[in-house]
């Protein structure tokens, strides 16, 4: 230990002595800026982590816990129903992710690039824009025993009361389905972005010339490329699904809830010392998420390797009638499933819309008995500030997130890999928000900052940046660098090449990444409340407060309002021309 320490000091001293001589200018403005940015990003993460780790080991002086102890761990493991909580978390989180990935694979194999796929993509845009909670509520209002589907079924009969069946169920299945319905459009968008960067037409033409059918080529050639490109988004979906709270409260069981819900319950307990076991739980959940991500990555790699082997060893009989028929059959089934999924999601959206303009709408009425805009008027009366706050915040945060992502990629290219940095970038996604942000809040306030805009922007950035980064990572890595090399050889500066060649050709992925960051910022609740101290009301804080009330009409208005800004932005982003994969010869 002593030896290593002295080596380290020696190393640092050498470095300092050597630095000026070798031209490593210690404090150039660029350097200061770079470290400033890194500190801005890593500081909150470190603060958040500290605020999580210290209570987990029994440290919380304000509450009278001043020595390291195992009390938090004992209290955590003594909680009733933990095993069931773990089981539910795994079923819903893994099940939801798996289902979303399967739907995306179905889309890539049978729908992407076809007219059906395009129509579906257009129809799913509202789902992409809708906050998770809103879609969950829409699904519940659609499929619950007193929901619209049941009313439709029972319309011919004189039924006074709704039937009884377990939906949401006690095993986390409805939760998994709900998560999959929300996440699949996101993964499809990512797959779409990946496909737009691939020379799809050329690959398919080459394959057809070799006698393969289009469906065969989609499975054999496109699928592995797309899956590799969207590995990071899948990881984010997995992390989100395992740690989700609001959706789990609506679609999951409540008697023994998922771990994430249990943590929020502990966090909101009127006894502040319940936060000690909550911190342990947060660490456990983070470990679970990391473990599952590692497992998923291993599994994915194994599957891709197996797929490669299969493609190389199995040459289908060309134009065999049976093969063609089964391919067509598979395509039809996949399209059918995707169609049903789209329809259900859209219906959920429509139900929310109808609910927002209903005055009274009670079972068994199929449609509201009275209509009116009063809920909208009521909600809008108090939402003037919230709307503009949300808009400006999201614009600022999304723009910063994309700029910083580009900076990170450029830096990565310059200095090899920054794995540690990327992990830090991801940490906010892995740790449960409430407990993670508490540490940040304490640290932030200790630094003398006041709750308000600055904290909220940083808080949003913590969660928007990883999404911006991971939506951009795939397309960025697959960019044809020969274009840039050519431009550099022609004497252009690095900045000119970045802006003139790369960013210009990557306009579509940049726009999509910006839109995703925008939507993430709009949907943030906990960071806004915790770091804004309530002084930055946004659509989400106002509407979530309304959603806790007994008025489903206001909840519906809230959902629509929250969805409208991201929806506009997604539609705009989709309208940005896809920078086609220009081959160097053509440039």
């Amino acid at each position: 230990m002593g030896a290593t320490l002295s080596q380290l000091t020696q190393w640092v001293a050498d470095r300092w002595r050597v630095a000026p001589a070798t031209g490593h200018a210690p404090l150039t403005p660029a350097r200061v800026l770079r470290w400033g940015v890194l500190l801005l990003l890593l500081g909150p993460t470190a603060l958040g982590l500290a605020g999580l780790v210290a209570p987990a080991f029994g440290l919380w002086p304000t509450l009278g816990f001043e020595e390291v102890s195992a009390v938090a761990w004992q209290r955590w493991w003594a909680l009733p129903g933990l095993a069931e909580g773990f089981r539910l978390t795994l079923v819903s989180g893994l099940g939801g992710t798996l289902l979303a990935v399967l739907l995306t694979m179905g889309w890539v194999s049978a729908a992407a690039g076809t007219r059906f796929g395009e129509r579906m993509e257009r129809l799913l845009a509202p789902i992409l824009a809708m906050p998770h909670l809103a879609l969950a509520l829409g699904l519940l209002w659609l499929a619950a025993p007193s929901g619209v589907l049941m009313r439709l079924l029972l319309a011919p009969f004189e039924v006074l009361v709704p039937p009884q069946y377990p939906l949401p169920d006690a095993h986390g299945i409805s939760l998994a389905v709900g998560l999959a319905l929300k996440e699949a459009p996101f993964l499809m968008l990512m797959a779409q972005t990946a496909l737009s960067r691939l020379p799809v037409t050329a690959q398919l033409q080459a394959g057809q010339a070799l006698g393969y059918s289009i469906p065969q080529l989609r499975w054999r050639i496109l699928m592995p490329q797309v899956m590799r490109a969207i590995a990071l988004p899948i990881g984010a979906v997995l992390a989100y699904s395992l740690a989700v709270v609001d959706v789990a409260q609506v679609l999951g069981p409540t008697r023994t809830p998922t771990l994430a819900v249990r943590l929020i319950e502990l966090w909101r307990d009127s006894d502040p010392t319940a936060r000690l076991p909550a911190s342990v739980g947060a660490l456990m959940l983070a470990l679970l998420v990391i473990g599952m991500m590692a497992l998923g990555a291993t599994l994915g790699r194994a599957l891709l390797a197996w797929h490669r082997g299969w493609v190389l060893s199995h040459h289908p009989e060309r134009a065999s009638r049976l093969a063609l028929a089964s391919e067509a059959m598979f395509g039809r089934v996949a399209r059918g499933v995707l169609g049903v999924v789209t329809l259900i999601s859209l219906l959920a959206f429509v139900v929310i819309g109808v609910q927002s303009v209903a005055r009274s709408w009670f079972f068994p009425a199929l449609l509201p008995s009275r209509w009116g805009w009063e809920s909208w008027q009521q909600a809008l009366a108090g939402l003037g500030d919230a709307f503009s706050n949300s808009l400006w915040l999201a614009l600022l945060v999304a723009t910063l997130a994309v700029i910083l992502s580009v900076a990170v990629f450029e830096r990565e290219r310059e200095s090899g890999r920054l794995r540690g940095f990327v992990v830090c970038l991801y940490l906010p996604l892995l740790l449960p928000q409430a407990s993670f942000l508490f540490g940040f809040q304490v640290g932030w306030l200790s630094l003398g900052a006041s709750p308000g805009w600055a904290g909220v922007v940083i808080g949003h950035l913590l969660f928007a940046l990883p999404y911006a980064w991971l939506t951009l990572a795939g397309p960025w890595a697959r960019f044809d660098t020969r274009l840039e090399q050519a431009a550099r050889l022609l004497g252009r500066s690095r900045l000119e090449v970045l802006i003139g060649i790369r960013l210009r050709l990557m306009l579509r992925p940049l726009a999509i990444s910006w839109a995703v960051a925008f939507a993430v910022s709009i949907a943030q609740y906990v960071p806004t409340v915790v770091l804004g101290g309530g002084r930055v009301p946004t659509l989400t804080t106002e509407t979530l407060a309304l959603a806790t009330g007994a008025d489903p009409r206001l909840t519906a208005v809230a959902a629509c309002l929250q969805a409208c800004l991201p929806l506009v932005v997604y539609l705009l982003a989709r309208a940005v021309p896809a920078g086609r994969s220009v081959s160097p010869t053509r440039g």
């Binding site: 470190a46 500290a50 009127s270 540690g420 309304l546 489903p552």
Partner: protein, 427 residues
């Protein structure tokens, strides 16, 4: 190329080292600050200076201040009422009130705890709508300012004995009574001929119509209230005194609560969703009642049914009722955090909300329907008139029908009930 790669790795190492140092420093600093804060609070905890000033001086001081009022924002009736009160405050007292709409009061408690841990004296909350467990948490952590209630001119007309104890905990003048709540139940006249006016009758309804009865899940506010109501009802009247004092021993708790667990064991399998799901709160249960998925709901706002029927949140067939032996009642309050930066304006705002005019508007079932904390009989005649002119809406509960509320058990019973409920039913 290789050196470049190495440099990158070194930089990454340095970066990670740096963040570790940062992490260590940061985890130490807030704790140090919080210790300093605790010492300060101990030193200056005597009577607050401001509260001893003349009211006129306080009002002068308040002019031009802007306060952050943290209050649950889940009801548009409440929000609209507070909007109109804020307008009055701006016009009459020159103070700006910002209603911070929170989803759960625990969030604000969390903010105050964080501010204390960070050693901040200038908090972000000036007034908070609070009662019960959240007040206890703040009082125990010495995060509330006061006593101040007696300094408010409008406290002269408060009902006698109101607000001395909040869920069994002495308030010590640290929070001002704002409204009175009493547990009421509601049922659908189209589905049940007569309402079940006791816990036993409720069990009968559950037997007759399996899957149509439920209660909010403890430890939510209304869920725990249901447990306490059932506990009291299932006890012989002469035994109920023990609930006023703290839980004496595990054996006593087990003996006193045995009938409650027997009751719940019988009820749970007959409940909505076989008891696998319970509504998150009274609000969710009311939504289920509106759709006839469950047939009974409960609330703490006595005029809630009248208000909800008028707004179209509940069908016109829903009627309120209470249990024959009476139901639990409590008071909700306004408190000023110790770290509130604008205490003068906070006092003026609370005094305004306690005025006869504001209280009468709040008691109007078409606006909110929350019972007043003032003794209407003692008010000057012109102020009393506002209460007498309140409209009677269909679905309202008259004071006669409400009767005398049962008093809340000592908080230690609440804690023990919640813990035992979780132990029994969360596995």
């Amino acid at each position: 190329m290789k050196t470049n790669h190495l440099a990158g790795r070194r930089r990454a190492l340095a970066l990670m080292g740096g963040s570790l140092v940062l992490l260590a420093g940061v985890s130490a600093s807030p704790w140090a600050a919080s210790l300093a804060y605790a010492a300060d609070a101990q030193a200056g905890r005597a009577t607050p200076e401001l509260a001893s000033l003349e009211w006129q001086v306080i009002a002068e001081h308040a002019r031009g201040q802007r306060i952050d009022f943290h209050a649950w924002g889940g009801s548009e009736a409440t929000n609209a009422y507070l909007r109109s009160q804020a307008k009055t405050a701006a016009a009459r007292h020159g103070i700006e009130v910002r209603h911070v709409k929170i989803a759960d009061t625990a969030e604000s408690v969390s903010t105050l705890l964080a501010e204390k841990a960070a050693g901040r004296r200038d908090g972000s909350i000036d007034v908070i709508w609070i009662n019960g467990e959240n007040f206890r948490a703040l009082k125990q952590a010495e995060l509330v300012w006061g006593p101040f209630v007696e300094r408010l001119p409008n406290s002269d007309y408060l009902l006698e004995e109101i607000g001395a104890r909040d869920f069994g905990l002495a308030t010590d003048g640290l929070e001002a009574p704002w409204g009175r709540a009493q547990l009421i139940f509601m049922y659908d006249t189209a589905l049940l001929e007569s309402p079940p006016r006791s816990m036993q009758a409720l069990l009968e309804v559950a037997r007759e119509h399996p899957g149509r009865v439920t209660y909010p899940q403890p430890p939510s506010f209304h869920g725990t209230t249901f447990l306490k109501q059932a506990l009291i009802e299932l006890m012989p009247v002469e035994q109920r005194e023990v609930l006023a004092s703290p839980v004496a021993s595990d054996a006593q708790f087990a003996e006193v609560t045995a009938p409650l667990w027997d009751y719940l064991d019988a009820l749970h399998p007959l409940m909505w969703a076989q008891g696998e799901r319970q509504p998150a709160g009274a609000e969710e249960q009311m939504k289920l009642l509106a759709q006839r998925s469950v047939w009974i709901a409960l609330t703490f706002v006595p005029q809630e049914v009248a208000n909800a029927r008028q707004e179209g949140r509940l069908p016109p067939t829903i009627e309120p009722y209470i249990h024959d032996g009476g139901t639990l009642g409590n008071v909700h309050y306004l408190a000023i955090p110790a770290s509130a930066p604008h205490k003068a304006a906070a006092l003026v705002w609370i005094n305004q909300l306690m005025s006869a005019e504001a209280q009468a508007a709040k008691a109007d079932p078409s606006r909110w329907g929350d019972d007043t904390v003032l003794d209407v009989a003692r008010l000057p005649p012109q102020e009393r008139a506002a209460f007498e002119a309140l409209p009677q809406l269909p679905g309202s509960m008259s004071p006669e029908a409400l009767g005398t509320p049962l008093s809340e058990p000592h908080p230690s019973w609440t804690d023990a009930l919640e813990a035992e409920w979780a132990r029994r039913y969360r596995n």
